[in-house]
Symmetry: D2
Subunit: 379 residues, 4 copies
């Protein structure tokens, strides 16, 4: 079987998750190309070496640029913070390496646009690029998209999406670079708001065209680990309402201060013929209401999305045996490897990532102006 | 025991609910004043007579103005559509009758302001006025307010409120006066949006000061029962985000086209020290998270709000024996009778109703302008 | 309209619930016979008088036997403890009064048999008798029965039923007559186990024919309110498994020491073609799974049993407006009044009550012998 | 780092799950011994070879006995059907190989006893044996055991456990060896009933001492894939009630015909001071009620068992990121490797497996006799 050599940049949370995907995609999905965990790049030789041993990477580099020169690297997997995405991705694509880049695609629209351009150039040469909105590959979310696409909901009328976390609910949670707008771009908005924007657009097949928005920072200063305090220059919470190009109304909320909610990405879709509801804290379940049901026995159904007929699920275990968070990365790897092997366009593309970035920019601008703000390029 | 003679105007849905309250408040709450179901007013003598017999009213009038002249009527209970509230309420208060008026207080801010003025005048003479935001008296909502007031949530940071129904999801649902802006004032916004505005303000003890909003009409024409179609001039759905005078961010959504949701008034509150969640479709439950809990056993608790220590619940049945929708009206009657007997100010007042009307007006104006809109009087 | 004079014996918890039914059945169900709350009987003139005033009864008697002599009493409603049921019911029936008797029908099979005989005799003279298994009239339970009867579940194979309460979980909860076998007959078994036996048999349309059982008493002594302790001679919990005459296997559990469960009457039915699940702590919901659904969207549906097409629900409020515990008594009253007016046999009959008593006796006997025990009369 | 060579026998469902564990235990748990996936044994060279390639095993054997002779095998992992467990396990232990054996330990008490003896002999030589009741390592179940052991529930009074599946609900599901008592030992009882017996005993720390039981077969004949029908000689469902050595009462139900339930292993524990509830279909959640809570805010808490303080969870992802079914096997591997490295006794032991087998035998015997049956060895 032909193989694809993978070089991964970064080895924190996302690096561990991606490693898990490359390690397990073979046994479960038997992809047409077999990934080889060739090289791990990290700035510290010591820490990168330890990570490589723990996670199963064959070699280590301390400069990501070396990956572009290595023959055993066909694909660069970018798991670094957002401010380095553009430089690495553009260079890798221009060097003829396929790229998988974590979300959000970049910290600014300009960077994202440059990356989308590079992806378009690379595509002409058979080089593939994908942005890591992994939640598209939660089986329940993939099923939701399928049901909408199959017309089971009729015309989509309303969507409400929330991503609620609480790791900043405590005012004593320490100051980190994530609270610094210069480095992080934004707060909850870009970090988790990007996920619900992508999820809603993916499930409905529609694009957000304009928004009204509000950003809030409830804890303006936080203690620095070493002493003193840091000023928080990003949002703790982002709320916005908007319209889609399909005529739907949508509301969004991303927050990192919702006490008691750990990872509650929730999406509800109401259509003319039915409705859907999902919560990532119960990720194996999709709730579906079919308006055609008899009133006597109509109701939202709790679908346990573990059947062979469900997206991805049949590759794993028998019905009723649950999947977890990390499986989404394995699904992502499987689909990317298939796209590379078959010469297809992996999805979500860098263009998709750019469009999400434009929505984020509109939300940020709208919060500052107080006015309705069109999303760039959606006219 | 002293009694209060009640004259009720209107005998449709709300008239039935209010009758149930007057009939049952005595046995369960033993209020200091005992209500006498004296007169029912309705335009058709025949239909009003049938209703009076069915619901247990002693007499019938076909002109509500007669109620103001009758000595056996101490309290006028207004259960008519919103466009007649102002005239009846102002006249009744000026005639020295206590008034209970269904929500929303009126169809316009001007009417509501006139009513609040009349209530203020009447108050000086010991005459009481109350607007019927009955959901304040769901035990779980009353408990939510108590927990916030007791500081169990710390500083309120975020609120999300939705009122989802689906009786207009079907594009073939017939045209009625409720789709005519001239008669109904607005659509989902005033009908059920008013409820979530009041509920959020009541639970948090904070007022909405400004909003960004969107209104949508998904079914622009509906069949008239007699043939032909009617143009829908009100909203099917209203979305808005706003700020409160306590520094919280809040999102709201009212819709009558959310397929599969029958009566889902949902409120979530996140504070610095804890969170609450409620859904009217499970109205005996309040979910509470206390951030002070040990991580090992922390989680949202499903409080079954049926304990003697809970608001209103102890007057009914033993723990675990559920209450329903109609009990809220009985609680409302009990509190109003107590206020009248004790010379207190019943809550929600007409001034509260006016303030809700001003929020509704800001939402309507903001949806038209696309700009952030301050709520009148909240500066 | 013709009326039925009601004389109620007892005015504690059940007396309040039954009063609520007689007071409200008219407005909502418009029964063919209108109940008149004529007389309340209680041993203490003072307490009975106060109860009559609070609950709306026109007169008071201190000896229930007087009810049998009064012309304004057509129906005797027995809300006393179980050890007095037989004497009152037999006398009332023999006096030509219709009887509604609270459950369990009696404390012993012998008493219950005498009552069933009296009911049979009375029936020949057009006099009606009904035992108050009110939970049959929870709309969701009535719907469950309908779905089974309509064949929506196919052949019933398995049933599991639990009635979990916790008011005796605290070892310091005081000793009362309910812990004395001589007076109460049994503990959780007769008190709440009777309800799940009736509910399961009603929903499935099948009868329990034999059982294996276990009874347990976890708190053998309890403090007496006046000082000292009382020995608990009844069960805190009863577990049994059994067979039905329809070939199903069933498990049952009744307990008053399940910490945190307030009133959790839970029933699940699995048939060859579908399944049902119900919990009285969410009494407006019925969960239904139809095995014929496509695997892609199959799942248990949460039916909100508040639609016009659902049993009883259409008489109350619009869809999504919940009912509570007490409504079951109103439904019971409506059905009894209809049966009396139409000369039908109200259900559950005293014969049904006797059969439940025989199951209770088999459970008690089986717990003592450790052996499988047939239910009397089910051969 | 020292390594442990693993030789696995069998490569069906359990073989895939165990392979996943050996592949991933290193990166996440960094165990003191590193597993090497050395050899896979399967009767067909072709199928075993394909499985080894897919699952990542280095070599293949067609006779499991070869594993005992290989120096690169330190641990034999038995993933075959139950009727071969005894022979393989005893031989492996006697050959000085550590053994991990899938559950149930064997098909008969005699086999299980021989295995427990062999484990005891091997233990004296530092050779370890473990039986694969993997659900003990669901974080929520491990947390449940911890809370009971910490006294958070007080004295355990009642337990109810169910394992509900539906893959045999369809009467047309084909006949396989699993319906043949000679080969499978029993039906739902041994297959999934064994899991709830072990789980209840593990969580409560108590042993079942006696039972009353019922077995049922609802579909007595099933179509054979090649034509004709096969007679089902095992149970579709097993129900039993019993006592524990700690004075608790418990009910159990295992079924493969509960329409709509895919993998619902449900356990509830009620103690004098609190309660727990769990459902494998929501495996990241544990519900906990603490009786010491104030009545105002008391309720069952939904604990999302993904915090660093929770068993196993901290090794994986941040809070709120769910785990799945397969993780239990990784936890099992980690604990076994640690026990081997540290010379400890892995749990559950073969003696534990034997005791479960004795409970299964008592259930089977009791179902035949109809009488209460003591569990062997529990006097």
């Amino acid at each position: 079987m032909t193989t694809v050599g993978v070089g991964m940049v970064g080895h924190a949370f996302m690096g561990r998750a991606h490693s898990q995907a490359w390690r397990n995609v073979g046994p479960f999905f038997g992809p047409p190309l077999s990934p080889v965990m060739a090289v791990l790049a990290g700035r510290s030789a010591e820490r990168a070496g330890a990570a490589a041993r723990a996670l199963g990477w064959a070699a280590v580099e301390t400069d990501w640029k070396e990956l572009l020169r290595r023959d055993d690297v066909d694909l660069v997997d970018i798991c670094t913070p957002g401010d380095s995405h553009a430089e690495i991705a553009v260079a890798a694509l221009d060097a003829g390496k396929h790229v998988l880049c974590e979300k959000p695609l970049a910290n600014t629209v300009a960077e994202a646009a440059a990356m989308a351009d590079a992806a378009e150039r690379a595509r002409a040469r058979g080089v593939r690029a994908m942005v890591g909105f992994n939640y598209r590959r939660v089986p329940a979310i993939a099923l939701a998209r399928r049901l909408v696409a199959d017309g089971r909901l009729g015309a989509v009328r309303q969507v409400r999406a929330q991503y609620l976390q609480d790791w900043l609910a405590d005012a004593d949670a320490p100051y980190t670079w994530r609270m610094d707008r210069d480095r992080a771009g934004s707060g909850a908005l870009g970090d988790i708001g990007a996920h619900i924007i992508d999820t809603v657009q993916h499930v409905t097949g529609q694009r957000i065209t304009g928004v009204s928005s509000l950003l809030g920072t409830f804890v303006p200063e936080r203690p620095r680990p070493g002493g003193g305090t840091g000023r928080v220059t990003v949002d703790d919470a982002a709320l916005f309402i908007g319209r889609t190009d399909g005529g739907a109304l949508a509301s969004f909320e991303a927050t990192r201060v919702a006490a008691g909610r750990k990872n509650a990405l929730r999406v509800e879709v109401n259509g003319s013929d039915g409705s859907l509801a999902f919560d990532l804290e119960s990720l194996n379940e999709l709730w579906f209401h079919d308006r055609a049901e008899d009133a006597e026995t109509a109701g939202f159904r709790r679908i346990l999305v573990t059947e062979p007929v469900h997206p991805y699920a049949g590759k794993w275990w028998p019905p009723g045996h649950l999947l977890g968070y990390e499986h989404t990365f394995t699904h992502q790897a499987a689909d990317l490897l298939t796209a590379i092997a078959e010469g297809g366009d992996p999805s979500p593309s860098f263009a998709d990532g750019l469009q999400v970035q434009r929505v984020l920019a509109a939300v940020q601008a709208g919060a500052e102006s107080g006015a309705w703000t069109d999303v760039e390029g959606s006219a």
